[in-house]
Symmetry: C2
Subunit: 230 residues, 2 copies
Amino acid sequence: MRYKVVLFEPKYEGNVGSVARVMKNFGFKDLLLINPPELGDFSRAMASHAVDILDNCKIACSFEEAVATSDLIVGTTGIAGASDDEHIRMPFYTPAELKEKLNGRTGVISLVFGREDAGLSNEELKQCDMIIKIPTSDEYSVMNLSHAVAVILYELGGIPGGKINLAKHDDLERLYVHYRSVLEQVGYPKHKCAKTLLMLRRILGRAMLTGREVQTLRGILRKIEWRINK
Amino acid sequence: MRYKVVLFEPKYEGNVGSVARVMKNFGFKDLLLINPPELGDFSRAMASHAVDILDNCKIACSFEEAVATSDLIVGTTGIAGASDDEHIRMPFYTPAELKEKLNGRTGVISLVFGREDAGLSNEELKQCDMIIKIPTSDEYSVMNLSHAVAVILYELGGIPGGKINLAKHDDLERLYVHYRSVLEQVGYPKHKCAKTLLMLRRILGRAMLTGREVQTLRGILRKIEWRINK
């Protein structure tokens, strides 16, 4: 899947720079601007380490030109349609629903974001194949342009998160045996032992320990043993 | 669950305003600032319709003071720990993993975001109960402060998306019957009919039509029928 981020008549160069930055944060490259403002120093400052995306952006004069080579044109709106007989803003999907729909597909997708103040007009929304709307509070639904881009690219980017290496189960079991031994050594009431060990297992279980953490916990127990046997 | 958004020594008032705006977008209210810059007109401009959040923000002088009444202190980092024997940044969780862990719990949670340039120091991270990191591209992992807040609040806010009223199954079935009738009326090759109707069912099925869209499609078919029988 190849995504193009299309900004329709952005007014502020700072927003264009901010969008470039968050594109790079989430691994996107293709930025396309329709009737943008002049991009000067401030856009570059906001782009920070993503000036390459600004330098390689493409400029188009019209919506049609911008999305000509796209397989799917996804329009964004901050204002939900009031009823489904309008068709323009309805039905709309959440970014998560869009992601689910794109699962397993391939193609070129234009993600079109409107002006900071007025968004995409009805005419522009009509040219989109699909409308998405970020779920927001009813109290204040209109997001800052680059925030909306950030949230949607975060959802679509699908950059895998940190894989946490969980502790091996054997090591955990040895930890629990060690706890039992320490409880006995400190004269913990025998009739309470099983229940307390179960509680420890529950607590440490849901904490999803790493191997290193298990070793450190056992180090603490060894330290306790050393002290009581001294 | 009650969340506090804690900004640790933000340098730019514009970022504080932007954070206030996205907080309101996602239904969050409590903003707490540690050693903030002076908040003037620019922060209010960036907050847009969320100046009430700026006006009601609390100021603290230290990390300890800021998080004193929290049940869980969640630190954010843009830089993943290199190995799990450091403990400071490891293990880290994604915002989605945090959300899953908080499922069904209640309490006061501080979400702590560091300085724009240096983030949270090791000393500050050590005081956090849990570390989260937004999954980003390896090429450029450091996000704009308010973008990071936007993504995390989007994930945690859990504001339900638009519920799309799907068409009733009976109406869809009537649509397919209508299609079959039209295919027959237009002399579509009989041996291809079944396969083509199945294809239509597949296409319209995955498009998840609304009731209104079904009626409109049937209106088109009626129009075709009217024309061919004229």
